[in-house]
Symmetry: D2
Subunit: 400 residues, 4 copies
């Protein structure tokens, strides 16, 4: 055991599963805020990789400020069209010159954004339905990071914190997986399901309401009957899916704002509401664990787009979640674990000012029984802090 | 007493003042994120007022997406200059036509932004140091709000929630007032203090560290000696100020990133770090109560720029804070009150799905002793929900 | 013969071929100004075709204002890269709604621009090396044109004029064909030749200097030797080519600004100087006949991007050139024909206020000998004025 | 006499005054194209002056690419408003760093544009009715000019030419002065006259039609009667004014597109058609002498915004006009003088490859009689080539 300042203590409040009301939200990858998160993080990864390839270390950058201005669209059965394109402005800082070598930061950003959008949004014509613009200025020259050199652990340059928890509550699991599986396996079979799927879970006692808003893709809908079928399909799929995660009573609501009499339905041409009236920006949606969880402490920090080498807020948000998950997996008897990491300016980031683990144990297990195990597990994970950076750059960690 | 669904219960965890570590942050009005918040809210107010003046009710709009792209500056003793202007893009939705009448939403936005910036930033030349651009699209036509007509209470159009607390902890009071008073009364006497003042408070047990980053204004600094004097002046002022709010031991740190040997100091031409490398956007900084408080539940919702008539997230965030404050003022024996409001889609916003008040009482007071009083006070405040809208439009409520 | 007001008269000055100094210039399709012309005209054609397809007539639009902001590039032997992308802003007016039908003018513009650029610029990565943005506002509502309906001839809505001539002088032919053939057949075999080929011809007496600036494509050049070979190849090809058009003495200069000692050469990554420092806009380069001919009267009117149904300046510039060419072909004895068309506001555009043909005849032919023939030929061509519109929309006429 | 290559010869064609049809146009300072010209030239002057002040010489820049995107307005009797602001993008190249000193080129550009617009457009709210944006990239590093150092004459870096003439024909004088005096002395007394005054003169034989389009300012018009009065006032003023320049028969037409029955009139809020649907850009309007003269040879070169030290096209266009004027003033017997200057790459710009003066003499004067005088006068003017640069920087020469 090192001398890392790790506290393990009982959670003073109720476990979230025991609270009377629980609210959980997830904005799907096609939500305008998530589009920005996704683009920002893709740009970040592409820049980091370029720096590694060209100069052997990650230089200073931050691309956590993408802004999306919604377009106007005229969706229609069997296929409508975008009338006024979406406008996406990638904003941030990047090192454009290093020891005489110039780095094409803006071109890299454009290409990374295009690749990401092309891959994730089959119904969005990049360059036709969406304009991608970029403004990457230069930051202060002395902010050059040093990742990749001899595995040194960077120093924290800010007082910041991260917070994560595990395991996910049932409602959280349902919300998270509803979006993932709908836009994943389900959309593959049912292309009518667009990428903009917003899920709200509300548990009151033992009843869970799951409200799903799915942007249906117009070219796969011929008329109102098909639309209703698509809605019903989603409802059934999600109802079924929910039983994988809970024995509680679940009610699923899909596209509740529809008005069939007025034929006012949630139809889109591109699979995202960004095509019509919904603006977006980075850091306004899901937290690093993919959820918005008002019942839990959350960090305000935008994770997507930040430099994964030295941005302590990003690293600690991802790390706290990862540590919580792996500790909850490894150590038996944990019902709920919340981990908070607070940085110490000027100290290596693997030595946080304090790492606070708050535990709710399972019946019959005392915090004291597993305290040491948790302490050790947290310690071991902290020791591998640069692993997080590597995983982020390689795209193995989602940030939203 | 109405049949509003108001719960009053004991807080299950520790009062924040009793927790071992407390972190509080405030980004001053000149922080790039706050500049965006401030502009977005000014634009919102101007639009709301224009709608009221012209059509007698507030029409649909949302202007919660301002993006700031940092400039480049060359600050210098006795006055430097901005090399590349800051770029500010106001983004959102607005109703531009109503019953045949056209509303100059974009021009209104530009003028409101300019007025706000001129008023708040004496060292920033609007149009010379900062470019203000605007893209206000139109949203869905059926989202027209009806404020001002017969005082009707709008229906909640979303499942959303707001959370507020009172009273502020000592650390919160110090952090909040440090920024307010530095950029207020102190800056009036000491124009060297710019508008970008970031305050971080960290309490560990009974020791509070207050870390202040002040953008000093170059035209009021002739050399390093004067700069050091300015820093020392701030340190003393804040140390002094802190004693108004606490008996705890307080250490104040000012501009800790300075390196006097390298003459690398926090000097700016415009009083904000937006002039050099710090981008910003709405909703990324302070919550509606002006603070970032990781020890408390917080809403992710961006409050600034949202429509105060029907945006339930905005209303409930402001309202929960206002209610918490007034209840904590009125009812004796409250040590900490946290109020959470959850909306009910389709119900009037003064009838939340649930209003949860979590209490920590003072020694010798039981929750049961004041439960009814709290219930009544919350009920009365909820009844005046439209008062919040009015106050927001009139600029009597700060949103960041 | 109709009563069109056609004047045929002798040219009062010298034929251009007889003037002592003649200057002719052509900016190739890859010149920044020409890129703008080409995009503007593509957008125009796409809009016109869309209007015809959807509402059966061409509605009001004008897209003659594309602005290109140059990028920054780092060309290198065997392939360099664009560092900061080119920015292209398509500006203009378009009808976006017609009898309840919405027209996606901006999306059409983006797609037309992309298609044009993809087709013409094999070394330019659209969306990666160049950002295409668009701002198409709406014009005055009463400017709706009516092309396609019963073949009516539109009325002139402005006092405007067009001017054309035929045949091309020898120098003009050389300049024109040098660019066309270099970027055409020659580039096909020699991809090292980029699209930005600027040709200046200067004839003094019987000596012609042809100065060619060719943007060489870096990925097809391995070193300075290959570059020199490429330059020499162009020189030989153009020298050879010139003999097809003249018996005069021709000297060809290629990339004269190169400095081999400094290895400062005209190498580009994308085949156009827009990648590095050369901005461009519509109407600043070639006239409608593809040339800049200071020895001839020229119209200031930007032809590219204008509405070909009712923009009298565009129509008359193209028409005067076409008429001059066909008359010079049909009627024997013409050494030089210059035709000027002046519109009459409120009259059908096939009835110009005046059509002035200025003739220089061949030796032994008097103007009087062919006056009637010319008059008739001009008259017949004018009768088919709407044919020009059709050809423009179908892309059979070049505008720059 | 030097050995400058100056040719003096008789004009081979007819003097413009003797041609049957003459067309002359002037776009007033408030025309969208002229707004761009004016801004571009202001920016150019401000940059040149800054370079002189800071480094003692004019560095490389070119700001000849301003693009204006029209707004939308709702003019109304007694004062309307701009609905969607005009967008003005200043584009060009500038040196931003020189020997370690940074030059705030973009901020200078913004401020110069604002100052120009504020000064010239009393009814346009800069920052409210018009957004001014800027993109000044850097050009090639080796293009640094050297003005101000020892009075050296720069070398021509391009084959370019300029063309000017004097004196102005009667129609030219009328057109030029109509705009100048209307927007000058007349507008001072009659603020109803906006800055966007477009004048077209058409002379056929001895009849001159002057067609004036005046953007009337709505806040100075209460109803249709006042509007008609304003129109009639302009008509009378111009009719009167014309007699200062000609004895020919003149008919003046004002705002001919008005339709009083429909109350469709030329009313603006800002005094320029840029507020509603008319885009603009640099170099698309008046030539360097302030006129568009299809009866004369014209240069395609955009003059406004170009670097006056080394941009040979700009210098020669201004210089040829200035020389023509001063020679026509000094030398008796000149009825029409056209001067063309052609540069010689690599030679000092005061030694053009050729200076061609084409003369039409007054009755009784032979070209031979004044040939030497003209030669000498041209020679003397050329010797003072750098004087043009100075005058341009000081704003003593208009470029559009």
């Amino acid at each position: 055991m090192t001398d890392r300042n790790i506290h393990v203590q009982p959670e003073s409040g109720l476990a979230v599963e025991d609270q009377n009301v629980e609210i959980v939200e997830r904005k799907g990858i096609g939500h305008p805020d998530s589009i920005c998160d996704g683009v920002a993080e893709s740009v970040s990864r592409a820049l980091a990789q370029t720096y590694l390839d060209r100069v052997g270390k990650v230089l200073h950058y931050n691309t956590d400020e993408t802004q999306l201005v919604a377009g106007t669209a005229a969706p229609a059965y069997d296929g409508g069209e975008v009338l006024e394109p979406i406008y996406l402005l990638i904003v941030g800082r990047a090192t454009k010159e290093y020891e005489g070598q110039r780095i094409p930061a803006e071109s890299i950003a454009l290409k990374a954004a295009r690749e990401y959008l092309d891959e994730q949004f089959p119904f969005l014509d990049v360059g036709g339905d969406i304009i991608v613009d970029v403004e990457l200025g230069e930051g202060s020259g002395d902010l050059q990071s040093v990742f990749g050199e001899e595995g040194a652990v960077p120093m924290a340059n800010d007082t910041s914190y991260g917070v994560g928890h595990a395991p996910l509550s049932e409602t959280e699991q349902i919300v998270y997986n509803t979006e993932h599986r709908l836009t994943g396996e389900y959309a593959e079979e049912n292309p009518v399901v667009g990428q903009d799927v917003k899920v709200m879970g509300k548990r009151e006692g033992d009843h869970i309401d799951v409200t799903v808003a799915v942007a249906m893709v117009d070219e796969h809908v011929s008329d109102l009957y098909e639309y209703k079928d698509a809605v019903e399909g989603v409802r059934e799929y999600v109802s079924d899916l929910a039983t994988d995660y809970t024995d509680r009573d679940v009610t699923v609501h899909v596209n509740t704002a529809d008005d069939y009499d007025e034929e006012s339905i949630y139809l889109t041409t591109t699979g995202t509401s960004a095509e019509q009236g919904d603006d977006g920006s980075v850091g306004r949606g899901n937290r690093a664990n993919g959820l918005i969880t008002p019942n839990r402490p959350m960090s305000m920090e935008a994770t997507s787009g930040k430099n994964p080498v030295n941005h302590i807020g990003k690293i600690y948000n991802i790390l706290s979640t990862e540590i919580a998950q792996s500790v909850a997996d490894e150590v038996d008897g944990i019902r709920q674990l919340q981990l908070r990491l607070l940085s110490q300016i000027g100290s290596p980031i693997d030595e946080p000012h304090v790492a606070d683990a708050m535990l709710v144990t399972e019946d019959g297990v005392a915090v004291g029984d597993i305290e040491d195990e948790v302490h050790e597990a947290v310690d071991a994970e902290l020791a591998d802090v640069t692993g997080v950076t590597r995983k982020v750059i390689e795209g193995d960690v989602s940030t939203f």
